[in-house]
Symmetry: C2
Subunit: 343 residues, 2 copies
């Protein structure tokens, strides 16, 4: 692959180069990259804004993450936050800090992933900033979305007797990360002869490296005529997010161990790593599934959903937040969620 | 000053702590920090979005920039981009990457500057992200603003015979930076006895450390009933920005050396450093003044402005972009603007 130093294009050249041939797909995008600011136009809709900062050495390790996958994931995790408000992502801005070891081709690969995600989810890139960085790669994405005023779902709307649901399955992205780290360590000892043991574990890798935002869940809820009372995306682990909803809504909750959705590969891998499967599913993080609550009256509708399942119920606040286990014990939920500031 | 490790608050605790007691000042801010995304509401107005990434060791040096000033400047440079579209900044999101040498008190100081800027300019902080960083401080701010559809000013609207104007004066922020760097180098040799020679140079330091966005220019233009045909803020130097406007508008331009606004302190300092004063004024950067063009018919109005002055005119593209000097030479304008990717 030809390698081009970034200084040959410069800041403006790089942005122009990376965003060329991307006509806007949203009518709300009036003017994108190229002026002091993008111009958006929202009529009667509400505007949603979310932002995410990803740092090399903290959030990703380029020894086992391809730049294209990284770009895809960096965009998708922002879309996920907009869907978690029951909205639709429409535009992103992308700011990059780039150290000297990266070439134009590297950044093109990163952007190819961002563009792929934007194409898949119908989102326009409307601006950004690029800069040299002293160390490592920095990715800051801000996503703007829209929603009808009466459709927006906050964290604070859960009420006693509501049903708790979650989409997809949990813990797979975390086990994918464990697998990647183990194989990376083995490869260091074995050198060039090394073949990583990924066969049969493709699902775990995909969940870690190329997560999707659950647009389909939002669509299925809309089809069923169900508006959740509260919703979040699961980025820091089910326990952490459920505690956020209960705190914001001033409620307690009961979830049931035998209702927690876990993929077969996740279970096999947890066994192999001698990890507690429910710790993995409750605290693993990076699932980007949707956690939501609905009124009891909607039970039959959500019980019929393909993309999500019922895992528990909302209670009065004094009952606390617990998981009922298969053997009828009650385990208090704690937020072991990922904290970038902990050692 | 008490020092509190950031890990004691964690990511969510830190954001809550930093943004508490900031009720929204804009009716367009419906929900700020605390959910997956902020919720904004714009009726018939257009929405403007701009973003800026500031990295320690590239854009700022904490050996001579106080964190509070840095926060103020980081916010103001984004507001400046919104004013440069003839809009009004309304909300920002703030993402921070924070290395281990920073305490909660450090980040509070940084935020105090951001909050001061927000209060002064009437802007709400509606979200953000914080993370540990392997090295140094990272600040990524996205600003959202609004404008009436028929008031937005792009870079591409300049036309032959238009008048070129610029607000304030140029080159002072650059000379302030030179002064700070010189005094820092001297202080290294002299140790604790060192008193930096800043007396009489306060204006240069203020321009570098605590720039303001030219909201007053936008207001004065509105009062006069003048809508610029093209406008940019001067962040990379007058030459670079003027070339951007001429390229986007497919025009040439003539500016006049004796019309370039330069402060007395800037001139004295350039002399002291043996630098060409017009190179400083044309290429220094970080002025955050507004550069704009208006139709010839508005000449009398802009000639009467307190906050800006006429410096030249727009020409047909084949006449190129030149500065006419006092001794009737013509110097071609070149973009020596700051490029973070150059050595």
């Amino acid at each position: 692959m030809a390698e081009t130093e970034i200084s040959t294009l410069g800041e403006f050249g790089l942005i122009e180069h990376l965003t060329e041939n991307m006509p806007p797909v949203n009518t709300s995008t009036e003017i994108g990259v190229g002026d002091d600011a993008a111009v958006l136009s929202y009529g009667e809709k509400k505007t949603l804004v979310t932002t995410d900062l990803l740092l090399e050495g903290i959030h990703f390790d380029l020894r086992y993450v391809a730049l294209k996958h990284l770009g895809y994931k960096a965009a998708v995790v922002n879309f996920s936050d907009i869907y978690a408000m029951n909205g639709t992502p429409k535009q992103i801005t992308v700011s990059l800090g780039i150290s000297k070891r990266f070439t134009v081709e590297h950044i093109e690969a990163l952007y190819a992933g961002i563009r792929l995600a934007c194409e898949k989810y119908g989102v326009d890139i409307v601006g950004g900033d690029t800069s040299a960085s002293v160390t490592g790669l920095i990715i800051s994405i801000t996503c703007i979305g829209e929603a009808d005023a009466d459709k927006i779902v906050y964290r604070s709307g859960a009420r006693d007797t509501d049903i708790v649901c979650v989409s997809g399955d949990l813990g797979a992205a975390y086990m994918g990360l464990q697998l990647l780290e183990r194989e990376l360590n083995v490869s260091k000892d074995m050198g060039n002869d090394f073949q990583p043991a990924f066969e049969g574990r493709e699902y775990l890798l995909e969940r870690q490296l190329k997560p999707e935002a659950r647009r389909d869940v939002i669509a299925e809820l809309a089809e069923l005529g169900v508006k959740p009372t509260a919703m979040m995306d699961v980025s820091d682990g089910l326990s952490s997010e459920l505690l956020h909803i209960c705190k914001a809504s001033n409620t307690g909750c009961r979830i049931y161990e035998d209702r927690i959705p876990i993929d077969y590969q996740t279970a096999v891998m947890a066994e192999e790593f001698n990890m507690n499967l429910y710790t993995v599913a409750l605290n693993g993080g990076e699932d980007y599934e949707l956690l939501f609550t609905v009124p009891l009256a909607d039970y039959d509708k959500v019980a019929s959903m393909k993309s999500a399942r019922v895992i528990g119920r909302i209670t009065k606040p004094e009952l606390g937040c617990y998981m009922s286990t298969r053997d009828d014990n009650e385990i208090e939920l704690v937020a072991q969620g990922w904290n970038a500031f902990k050692e």
